[in-house]
């Protein structure tokens, strides 16, 4: 569990971080909470030669009411997302999903920005923000741009972030009292999801996204279209895996995963409709 040698730089601001990353190029990586990156480095599956630590960029840790949406700084820890009163009121689905990330230690270190930037299909927050129709604000040497969550995830651990860009903010539309549900199915209580579902429903509209059902987080559009054309919950749920290309692993065969997605989407919609 000893990583390969690397250099360590600490950034005081987003600008400094971006310029450091630009300076060291491909071999450098941002370090936020370190709870995805460090395990990979210890297994020597990742061997960056420079780490640019953004963990102490304090002004990127916030949850703010921004009118029609909630703005969340990329360096906000999972625990602060979970406990945020603003989110409890306006996007309870996200706060609840954050409470299901790993264990308390993980939630005190890991950041929402790190989770999204890492683009792990098995992570809870990428799929949840996807279901909620979030927008990610990224900053590069030439300034900021917005990327819709649905355009962000490009492949397994791959995103639309350029190498010299940093995720700085997540904008989550307010849920306006929508019914919601977060279903996380795992074998041990604090594990990653074998399959997870984040879903909400409000006056004929809905959003459903799947955790660990392919190489990226998956928006289950077929479920939402079925619902909007009047399908019953059970019928809509039968389309749960239409947009997914799940893989088999030690915990679930492809077939079982597909089945689970249907069951969990049905349960999520039932709960969100209460």
């Amino acid at each position: 569990m000893i990583p390969a040698a690397f250099d360590y730089k600490r950034a005081g601001s987003a600008e400094e971080a971006i310029s450091l990353i630009g300076q060291y190029g491909d071999e450098a990586k941002f370090l936020a909470g370190g709870h995805s990156l460090i395990p990979l480095m210890k297994l020597r599956l990742a061997q960056p030669t420079v780490l640019v630590d953004i963990g102490r960029v304090k002004d990127l840790s916030y949850v703010r009411d921004a009118g029609d949406h909630v703005a969340i700084g990329a360096l906000t820890r999972h625990m602060d997302v979970e406990k945020s009163p603003v989110l409890a009121q306006h996007a309870p689905l996200l706060a609840h999903a954050a409470s299901h990330v790993g264990d308390a230690q993980v939630r005190h270190r890991g950041t929402i920005g790190g989770s999204i930037a890492h683009a792990d299909p098995a992570s809870d927050l990428p799929a949840t923000t996807l279901a909620l129709g979030a927008t990610y604000v990224v900053q590069g040497p030439k300034g900021k741009r917005d990327i819709a969550a649905r355009d962000f995830y490009k492949g397994f651990l791959e995103s639309a972030l350029a190498a010299d860009e940093m995720l700085v903010e997540i904008k989550v539309p307010k849920m306006n009292g929508a019914g919601w549900s977060f279903q996380k199915f795992n074998r041990r209580a604090q594990d990653w999801a074998i399959v997870g579902v984040a879903a909400w429903r409000n006056n004929g509209t809905s959003g459903v996204a799947l955790v660990n059902m392919g190489s990226t987080p998956v928006l289950a559009s077929a479920v939402s279209s079925a619902l909007s054309s009047g399908a019953s919950i059970a019928d809509a749920a039968s389309h749960a895996a239409d947009d997914a290309e799940p893989q088999g692993d030690l915990n679930a065969s492809v077939e079982y995963r597909t089945h689970l997605a249907k069951v969990l989407v049905r349960r999520a919609l039932e709960e969100a409709s209460k």
Binding site: M1, I2, A4, A5, L43, R44, D103, F185, R187, R188, A189, Q190, D191, W192, I194, L250, N251, A252, S253, E255, Y256, H259, L260, V263
Partner: protein, 804 residues
């Protein structure tokens, strides 16, 4: 006289907090890796990425020239260093095949993780970096991961022995020849079941760690190791490396769990000692977690075929067992003996006539060697008989508890006609010291509210029910307190089973207890102090317990097999008796009376009938130290050594009941209730007993629901970290109700039996019986462990005629 009758000091039986815990809980306890050893070199081991491969060439030149690297060795380089191959102490049959096994492979790597080269460097990271720079050319050979495939010798792993079969061991006991066949022929009911004991990874919280420190002159070496067996390790290191035994000292500092995985002699221990001597510098090594999953032994790994024959009432008339044991790539210290530790237990707690036919064939595979893992052979045996009993109950259409009641060895059978305790001599000739299975079972059933559960089940498990309720039980016997030396001799084990203790009353009347047991989480310091305090009438705080250093405690056979209390604790009581006997002579001298006229109570000798003529043991200790006025023939100092060789195993028993709910849509099993009623005889410290039961139950439950070492077809371990190998965490554990019956052992003065493995022995089958019970209404009668959601779902699909 037994201590239960003589007890006056009320120390034994108290729920005392463990004195070990403050240091452990605050991080102050020192494990091997916490030891500051100036100038130490760091060892790293390059391991084979192939399950089976010929080593064509190894180029170490790049690695050797890296900064900080002191030396790089291949197996060939070190071949002349070993005086003998790595030890296997249990040649279970005269013709057992045991391929030579060296700390580094020479021509061939036989499992993923087999060491092929070693680096010594000035820092841990330099040693780890250099490993990646060693260039090995392998010729990959086919992996052998299936036991039946191994048996076929399609691919022979060890050329020198020409077969993958290590041994076949039989235990056939028949009242008359042909009794077993006859019983099966005449049986009203038979069942024939096949179970797979999946491989498990012991996963001690502290991985292994080693540091060897040579003395500058004279050749003495101190070996620090995260081991359960410093004494065995000392002898074996001396033999394997050709070092005079008196020059080896082994110390086990704080050790973070073992579960059998540290009951071994490992390559890295030998490498550290050999290289420390060669380089004249300390050499240390600490195992990485993923490395631990490959380089430290695995447990279980058996295919079990069990057949039961029963008469029309369900009384067992014969048991037939065929095992295939997975040895892994090599035989470690007691690998071949593990299945045999269960060989006597396949009739469980039942009154079987002499019609028993057990045979085990053990094979080599290209996987990590297996060896003892909590329960070692006994959980496997208990699982087979207890799951088969449920199958028999189903075949007969009767309640599984009713079936067990018809078969339990009865309480009366442990006594002779006039009520004297004789123990129960079983069909195989071993004597079960004491037991009352029905009492333990009844208590467990009351806690579980069995009758109500069955009613609730009938209401809940209707066709189409999304969640089905299941109830499972297990009644077990554990053969523990390893072991009577003579019995070990009959099993060809390479050592005895005694344990040693020294008790020393210091001039100021504080007490030192020196034990040959070697704790790694069991709380021996607390419990042993309680035993000595009880016997000597001193406060437990005034007793210090010394252990786990062969220079301080030179005699011992260490800790495993639930032996520490039943053998080592009893040795301490025996040493206390000798101390008291000696003190009595001095007291009689001082009080000018006959020794027989003295009574010893609450730490004071007094003349029977005249309580004012008294002298406390403290005063005697001081008198023994000054030696100014001792009776003739009595040596100074108050100290005694005693070695206890048990007359018999101790046989704890009990009944566990598990209640589960299975979600038929997802296949997920929720344990709603778990009741463990155990009987380990007298309890020294009930708090520690409960802790042992909790941990054991969770480990057994983990086998049933979570854990499995998974290999792919090429022999790669797929579960090599804690994200993939699912050890349950605290939040995954259901509430466990523990209760006890107390049936003292009749074969030791403390009346104690072991409790370290009992939970594990009972739990896996109780959980699986519950899961199968929940699903039997769907036509499911058998299910492999672990009952993971995917496996359960698949079984349900198959039973419902799905296309899965």
């Amino acid at each position: 006289m037994s201590i239960t009758e003589e007890r006056t000091n009320n120390v034994i039986g108290q729920r005392m907090l463990r004195r070990e815990d403050p240091a452990l809980l605050t991080g102050e306890a020192k494990f091997v890796n916490d030891l500051a050893i100036p100038g130490a070199l760091h060892l790293a081991v390059l391991r084979s990425p192939y399950a089976h491969a010929r080593i064509k060439s190894i180029d170490v030149s790049d690695a050797a020239s890296m900064p900080g690297v002191v030396a790089v060795y291949t197996g060939k380089d070190l071949q002349s260093t070993w005086a003998a191959p790595m030890p296997c102490a249990w040649p279970v049959t005269p013709d057992m095949k045991n391929p030579a096994h060296y700390p580094l492979a020479v021509d061939k790597a036989c499992y993923v993780g087999d060491g092929v080269a070693a680096v010594l460097a000035t820092s841990e990271s330099a040693s780890r970096d250099a490993i990646d720079a060693i260039d090995v050319v392998y010729e990959p050979l086919p992996a052998v991961i299936d036991l039946e495939d191994a048996l076929s010798d399609r691919v022979v792993i060890h050329d020198a022995i020409g077969t993958n079969t290590s041994y076949t061991w039989n235990l056939k006991v028949e009242a008359a020849e042909g009794a077993v066949d006859q019983a099966f022929k005449n049986a009203a009911f038979t069942v024939s079941e096949r179970y797979v004991q999946q491989r498990l990874i012991p996963m001690a919280m502290e991985p292994r760690a080693v540091a060897a420190v040579p003395q500058p002159f004279g050749g003495d070496v101190t070996l620090y190791s995260a081991t359960q067996v410093p004494h065995i390790l000392k002898v074996m290191t001396a033999i394997t490396l050709g070092i005079p035994e008196h020059q080896m000292r082994v110390v086990a500092p704080s050790v973070g769990g073992g579960f059998g995985s540290k009951l071994d002699v490992y390559a890295e221990e030998l490498l550290c000692v050999a290289l420390a001597r060669k380089h004249g510098a300390p050499v240390r090594w600490v195992e990485e977690r993923s490395e631990n999953t490959q380089a430290t032994i695995h447990g279980r790994g058996q295919i079990q075929n069990i057949e039961l024959a029963a008469d029309k009432d369900g009384r067992l008339t014969a048991v037939r067992v065929r095992l295939i044991g997975d040895m892994g790539a090599y035989l470690q210290l007691v690998t071949p003996g593990v299945p045999l530790l269960g060989a006597f237990l396949y009739a469980g707690v039942y009154d079987l006539p002499q019609a028993y036919d057990f045979s085990c064939t053990s094979v080599f595979t290209t996987m990590t060697p297996t060896d003892a893992y909590r329960g070692a052979g006994r959980p496997e045996a208990t699982y087979a008989i207890e799951v088969a009993m449920d199958a028999l109950a189903r075949a007969m259409g009767i309640d599984p508890y009713e079936l067990r009641k018809r078969n339990y060895i009865k309480k009366e059978q442990f006594y002779d006609a006039s009520g004297n305790p004789t123990g129960y001599t079983a069909f195989h000739g071993l004597n079960y010291d004491s037991g009352d299975h029905l009492a333990a079972a009844e208590k467990a059933m009351q806690h579980a509210d069995y009758v109500a559960l069955r009613k609730a089940q009938a209401t809940q498990n209707v066709p189409g029910a999304r969640k089905r309720l299941g109830v499972g039980m297990t009644s077990y016997f554990e053969m523990c307190g390893l072991a009577p030396s003579r019995v070990l001799a009959s099993l060809n084990y390479g050592a005895g089973g005694w344990e040693s203790a020294t008790v020393r009353v210091l001039p100021t009347s504080k007490v030192q207890v020196v034990t040959g047991t070697s704790p790694h989480g069991q709380g021996h310091e607390t419990s042993w102090a309680m035993i000595a305090a009880e016997k000597l009438g001193v406060a437990p705080e005034d007793v210090d317990v010394l252990h786990s250093d062969t220079a301080i405690a030179p005699l011992g056979l260490d800790t495993y097999g639930s032996r520490s209390l039943a053998v080592g604790g009893v040795a301490i009581a025996g040493a206390c008796d000798k101390v008291i006997d000696k003190a009595r002579l001095i007291a009689a001298h001082q009080l000018e009376c006959a020794a027989e006229d003295l009574q010893f109570e609450k730490g004071t000798f007094s003349v029977k009938g005249s309580p004012d003529k008294a002298v406390p043991i403290a005063a005697i200790a001081f008198a023994a130290f000054t030696a100014h006025n001792l009776p003739d023939g009595v040596e100074p100092n108050l100290e005694a050594q005693y070695t206890h060789d048990p007359k018999n195993f101790s046989w704890p028993f009990g009944t566990h009941v598990c209640v589960v709910e299975v979600d038929t849509e997802t296949g997920k099993v929720d344990v709603l209730k778990y009741v463990a009623v155990d009987d380990c005889g007298n309890q020294i410290n009930p708090l520690i007993v409960e802790g042992q039961v909790h941990g054991g139950v969770v480990q057994g439950m983990a086998q049933a629901l979570y854990e499995e070492a998974v290999y792919d077809g090429d022999g790669n371990l797929k579960t090599s970290n804690l994200a993939e190998y699912l050890v349950p965490a605290a939040c995954d554990v259901p509430p466990i109700t523990t209760d006890f019956t107390v049936t003292p052992s009749t074969t030791n003065q403390l009346g104690v039996k072991g409790i370290g493995e009992a939970g594990t022995i009972g739990a896996a089958s109780a959980v699986m019986n519950a899961v199968i019970d929940a699903l039997s209404g769907l036509g499911i009668t058998t299910l492999d462990m672990p009952a993971s959601p995917n496996n359960v779902w698949k079984a349900i699909q198959a039973a419902q005629g799905g296309t899965k």
